[in-house]
């Protein structure tokens, strides 16, 4: 295997460890005493409190607590929500698929808008279409996505009545309604990513189009379209494909806001509700899961990049 790749995989382990340390520190900085919260009615009883502390390993030294906590995470036990007393793993299993559904749609929309726009901008470099596309991308990046969501609701739901203004219907229940409730939030979420994709596609295309092998192809007499599609595009798509994985963070951050605006019971809304519920274990669980997903996806993106790009494969 590629030595560079092996190095990347080796880097993941310390990163994950540091992530877990970071989240563990967060856990201990959060206000509120877990024993008192979980004791509920019996919080005045010191015996019960001591019992709970022993159960949660709160009376042991910190390094041991960390060790115990890592063991629990490895078994899929992310703790108990203080608000609903349910296992956080169960809450995550309920809410994450919703966010991933909207996020997946958002990414598809972003690719459908951003990549063609980037290609057009690169091909028409310096002309009107380039400026238009670049301006649109910049505008998209500068628009707060919750504002875009509110404006879309105002237009498409309140004024035109075309789409429901909020809520979420799972596709298993009614796929048409599901589409109707997710198309606006997906568009809003995908908007920023479309802008980023557009800029990357444009610059990757420009780089590819000016490279030697493309000039050679042109010299050979291949048509302009042939050059673009045959060589430039294929090479330009490489960074674009891997960008998707790297933008997971943007997607999740954006999801926090769009789920609030559109009242979607997803992962992002879960962390906001958790803050207002003073449900700190859930906040911490969300941070842990997203960080973990991001690290793994970044690794997957790097592997994917090497696999797709023949030139890097042999090191």
């Amino acid at each position: 295997m590629n030595a560079q790749l092996a190095g990347r995989i080796a880097q993941v382990v310390p990163t994950l460890l540091l992530v877990s340390l970071l989240v563990f520190c967060l856990q201990h900085l959060m206000p509120g005493d877990p024993a008192i919260v979980l004791a509920g009615e019996e919080r005045g009883d010191p015996v019960v409190l001591a019992q709970i502390r022993a159960e949660l390993w709160l009376d042991r030294p910190l390094p041991l607590q960390y060790w115990h906590w890592i063991g629990q995470i490895a078994h899929g036990d992310f703790g108990i929500s203080w608000h609903t007393r349910e296992p956080i793993a169960k809450l995550i299993a309920q809410k994450l698929p919703v966010t991933l559904q909207v996020g997946g749609m958002a990414f598809v929309i972003a690719v459908l808008i951003g990549v063609p726009a980037g290609i057009v901008a690169a091909v028409c470099r310096g002309k009107v279409w380039d400026y238009a596309a670049t301006a649109a991308a910049l505008a998209g990046l500068s628009t707060p996505n919750f504002w875009l969501g509110i404006m879309l609701i105002l237009l498409l739901s309140v004024h035109l009545g075309w789409l429901p203004p909020s809520g979420f219907v799972p596709p298993s229940e009614d796929w048409r309604q599901s589409l109707a409730t997710t198309i606006m939030p997906a568009f809003v979420l995908g908007n920023a990513i479309a802008a980023i994709l557009m800029r990357h596609t444009r610059s990757a295309m420009l780089t590819a189009m000016s490279q030697d092998f493309v000039r050679t192809a042109r010299a050979k007499g291949l048509s302009e379209m042939g050059v673009i599609v045959g060589h430039a595009l294929r090479n330009a798509l490489l960074p674009v494909v891997t960008l998707g994985a790297l933008e997971l963070g943007t997607l999740l951050s954006g999801a926090v806001l769009t789920e609030q605006v559109f009242s979607i019971p997803g992962f992002g809304k879960m962390i906001v509700d958790a803050v207002f519920n003073r449900d700190y274990p859930v906040v911490q669980g969300v941070v842990l899961v997203t960080a973990f997903l991001t690290v793994m996806l970044n690794l997957a993106a790097d592997i994917l990049y090497v696999v797709i790009n023949p030139r890097l494969r042999d090191g």
Binding site: L18, V19, S142, P144, W147, I150, V158, G249, V283, V286
Partner: protein, 282 residues
Amino acid sequence: MADRTIGPRYEALARFLERRVAVAALAVIVLFVLAAVFAPLLAPYDPTATSWSAIRKAPSVAHWMGTDENGRDVLSRVIFGARASLLAGAVAVAIAAGIGLPAGLLAGFARGWIDAVLSRIVDAVLACPFLILAIALAAILGPNLTNAMIAIGISSAPRFMRVARAATLEAAALEYVEAARAIGNPPWRVAVFHVLPNIVPPVLVQATLAIAAAIIAEASLSFLGLGQQPPDPSWGSMLNAAQRFLTQAPWLAVFPGLAIFLCVLSFNLVGDGLRDALDPRA
């Protein structure tokens, strides 16, 4: 030999000034800053002054942008809201640069295990999505504007570290830096007097773009209720109230959002302009 670092700067400035869009954006930023600084003089009303008889009035001569659900003048609140946003942008980025720049400089210059450790720490922090980390920090510290600025600053620091580190790696390879090292200057002197001036340009670009991101982050946190607390105005919290009254008072949603958009767009344009001006290769 000293004028080697002055020349390119004038060139860069000239290149920047050539790009009219970037200059226009800079002018807009200056306008926003002036509005924030001279808010008490510019705003027609006290932004927190409620008026029970003027609830949710549409824009009119008396209230150019209308009034909100508590009878407060929206224009005044938008002007004063600039304070929260720009302050958040400046302070958050100052914190981020204050942490990230030295860290990146150290990592890029010292290399070896220091670099490895710092880079892994940065990877770990970057693994948490920006807003989610900011929310978690706001939850710990408590919701108010100051804590939001700290949270955004900490979340933005990794990117500064990366930029500073990459620039340091490049700068350290420059001939005259190596020469400075060779003649026996202690490492810290080389780092501060020779490497640092060279990494300022990319860090400056990052800072401008980071301010744009910080303004959106502050608006986002305030929108969620975790930033600026009532009655002090923030463009983000104004949008929260606007959503509640979307059918009765749609104008409430337009102006604060427009303000965020213009402000952030300007910073993005200036940042792009700086990047193009400072990096002749692009």
